[in-house]
Amino acid sequence: MDHSATTATDPAVVEAMLPWFSINYGNPSSLYRLARDSKAAIEDARKRVANAIGAKPEEIYFTSGGTESDNWALKGAAFALQKRGNHIITSAIEHHAILHTCQYLEKHGFQVTYLPVDEFGQVRIEDLRAAVTDKTILVSVMFANNEIGTIQPIPEIGAFCRERGILFHTDAVQVIGNLPVDVAAMNIDLLSLSAHKFYGPKGIGALYIRKGVRIDNYLHGGGQEHRKRAGTENVPGIVGLGVAIEKAVVDLEVKTSRIRALRDVLLDRILHEIPNTRLNGHRTMRLPGNLNVSFEFIEGESLLLLLDHAGIAASTGSACSSGSLEPSHVLLAIGLPAEVAHGSLRLTLGVENTQEDVNYACDEIKKAVERLRAMSPLYVDYLKKRSCNV
């Protein structure tokens, strides 16, 4: 139940990729037949990606994944437009691929505004309007958040930026296969996506660059990808991305309704059956498979260990699991006190999950929370205080 971290590559995707390893292994830049097949496969995949997000094939550039796409979009736009202005606007709850890139750009003379979010994790258009200056060249706001699943008002932000001639980038890594995306209708200039989040392979992604938008190159070298992204193409990965994204957007509403219903059952059970629990994020404006809750009086990493022991893969915003010592910047940005952020649990459901999984997960979460609370001094104190007040 950690599909936002990654997904299993669909067997049909693997099968489509296999011939491009050792049978049709030609370098697309070579001139012989073997190479022409590779080139054709890439162009076929480019069409599939474009179709899935309402773009034109020539607006799709293959990259190594979400992180590269984010880095390219931000650095490429910033350096291309620095004569026009040096101000970038993003949100406080972006993925580190955006936040750390922004911090890097700050070291190179750019000014970055990190928009706050409301208690549900949404950016307010008023805040965006107030942050814009005549030096603003780029706005980057994620389509939906990876931790709390909150969906941003992307069409509104897109329209706002387009009216003012400000470039708009969105990190849509969590979104493909979960929500409909139409870059033209939503006025998106740059969009990042990554195959392994929607049952495709790892190490491959794409950046959509709207026709007419010029950004600097990020990788310099050969003339691949219309001289915009150097490096011999990852042909099997690109083929896999093409097949995976086509499958991801077919019957989107049917697939996501099933997952959303499972998620809602799990969420309702957790909130009703485990006291002192809160939902993090928005009740309805959230990714269909995403569930993020905080259990008071316990710490998330120990909860993950118990769940892992029960065969359930999950994630947390607690500092103790992340290798850093701060709890999740997203949970802090929606106003959670650090101790509540430490007790957070994220479950992200996907196509393989069933009603039985949900029931089992809920039972195990209940047991694990009870077990950890029984040894928590915070909980013991809470119970004593409560019995005094009765």
């Binding site: 009086f297 316990i298 710490e299 990493e301 120990s302 260990l305 022991h309 607690s318 500092a319 103790c320 699991s321 290798g323 850093s324 010592l325 709890p327 006190p337 650090a338 101790e339 430490h342 029984a374 040894m375 928590s376 001094p377 915070l378 909980y379 013991v380």
Partner: protein, 143 residues
């Protein structure tokens, strides 16, 4: 990422609970950092005859509490005072570097509980030998 010993003490914590009329109690850590440890001691003739813990924290914090209570049970107060965070970490067959502060927390919890006992009994509290305190400062910059 954790040793088998850490996982064993996390899954089957020893001496977890509370001693209602404890002779000494020590609490360290804070909820903002994500770990709080409370140690309860029963002391008879200068010997720790019973010890219990309550911990809010990660797997390493819970395992360190459990191991620390095992290491001091049946010891004299002087011997228990000498149980260092390193000894706790070694007994657990090592902790990841970022989790070493959990063992420091255990050492400090024991010290606080012992001094609580000493103060309650009209004795001078023992002084910390300096050196470490429960701090994240030495671990922050790891990006």
């Amino acid at each position: 990422m954790y040793s088998e010993k850490v996982m064993d003490h996390f899954m089957n914590p020893r001496n977890q609970g509370e001693i209602p009329d404890a002779d000494g109690v020590g609490e360290v850590g804070n909820p903002t950092c994500g770990d709080i440890m409370r140690i309860f001691l029963t002391v008879k003739d200068n010997i720790i005859t019973d010890v219990k813990f309550q911990t809010f924290g990660c797997g390493a914090a819970i395992a360190s509490s459990s191991m620390a209570t095992e290491l001091i049970k049946g010891k004299t107060l002087e011997e228990a005072w000498e149980v260092s965070n390193k000894a706790v970490a070694e007994a657990l067959e090592g902790l990841p570097p970022i989790k070493m502060h959990c063992s420091v927390l255990a050492e400090e919890g024991i010290h606080k509980a012992i001094n609580d006992y000493r103060i309650k009994n009209g004795l001078e509290p023992w002084e910390e030998k300096g050196g470490h305190t429960h701090s994240h400062d030495d671990l922050t910059d790891e990006e």
